[in-house]
Amino acid sequence: MNKLTRDQMAERVARDIPEGSYVNLGIGLPTKVANYLPKDREIFLHSENGLLGMGPAPAPGEEDPELINAGKEPVTLLDGGCFFHHGDSFAMMRGGHLDICVLGAFQVSKKGDLANWHTGAPDAIPAVGGAMDLAIGAKKVFVMMDHLTKSGECKIVERCGYPVTGIDCVDRIYTDLAVIDVTPDGLVVLEMVEGLDFDELQRLTPVPLTLAA
């Protein structure tokens, strides 16, 4: 089968973001989605550190250490963008004003619990940032992750083994193998990569899947 590359995953997610959406792209893999947003759609990117209308990375030499994104990388601001303080920024998230947020994950449970902030290892230094706010705040939470860990375990699980970031919060999962909706009736497969059939996907995934009608 043709597993999606990380860029292909980002491109796939980007396709599902409608014009006019207010979107937060999490640190890491989700950041790549910005590269694939169709140029003919106006989409509003939010960054937790107080900007809306975030533009692409600046040209080399044009970086401004006071114009950064949540990953602390230099960015730009589009015409029509604006700045605000952290209280307002997280009110946007917590208050349900973002249409979509895209997050990376260690695991997603069949009920839509998300684990993406902490491995739970006893010697790990925990850091949560805005992950828990994003998980519960946006109207739709999209997760992007590999379907399997490097050692071959499925990241879609019955119950999260890692400490959760939010309960019952994921709406859709984009993996390198499939696009899967989390619904009240369970996980519904919308798409699979070329060369993958449903039985094989189900074999790899330890929770019941159904195929979208």
Partner: protein, 228 residues
Amino acid sequence: MIDKTVASLEEAVAGIFDGATVMIGGFGTAGQPAELIDALIAQGAKDLTIVNNNAGNGEIGLAALLKARRVKKIICSFPRQADSHVFDALYRAGEIQLELVPQGNLAARIQAAGAGLGAIFTPTGYGTLLAEGKETREIDGKHYVLEYPIKADFALIKALQGDRWGNLVYRKTARNFGPIMAAAAATTIAQVSEIVPLGALDPEVIVTPGIFVQRVVAVSGAASARVA
């Protein structure tokens, strides 16, 4: 291209349904979106719950909406004023419900709705008639009342300038409830004196980011400063 500006006041208030909760900006007439209210009266929605600091002045604006018998209930802090006779008469006749809220709790409850909080413990009103029957708690030696968010289906507000993304700036004390109501309503409709091109508003001085605004309509600039 996203363009939240609409061409007419009629279009601006389209879809406001019977029974809706509608926040209306303004402190007295400063910041009151008089033209949007007139359009709402013409539009005809009824059984409305209105959230405003006051309950109308004279016979215009909010008072005219009340007079047209479109309002089932009003949530406000200061209904009784020298010129609130329309409200006064309806209230005495038992034809309008009043939920009286201390002004700062009104603001805080509107903010809580916009910020997604489930409830807040506020010190205002503790031990008074307006906290009767409400849950209270002592925290660090001080007494608080539990208050819940006030959300709205629509907010009608007035700003000075807006752009096609819905960004807004206000003028002087006409700002008042506009920014916090914009964040608390599912659909926020702003009347502005001027629609400016995208990028014309300094990103450092935008008061209401467009994420909180769904429709922007221009009214004549002169109207902005008049005593509505």
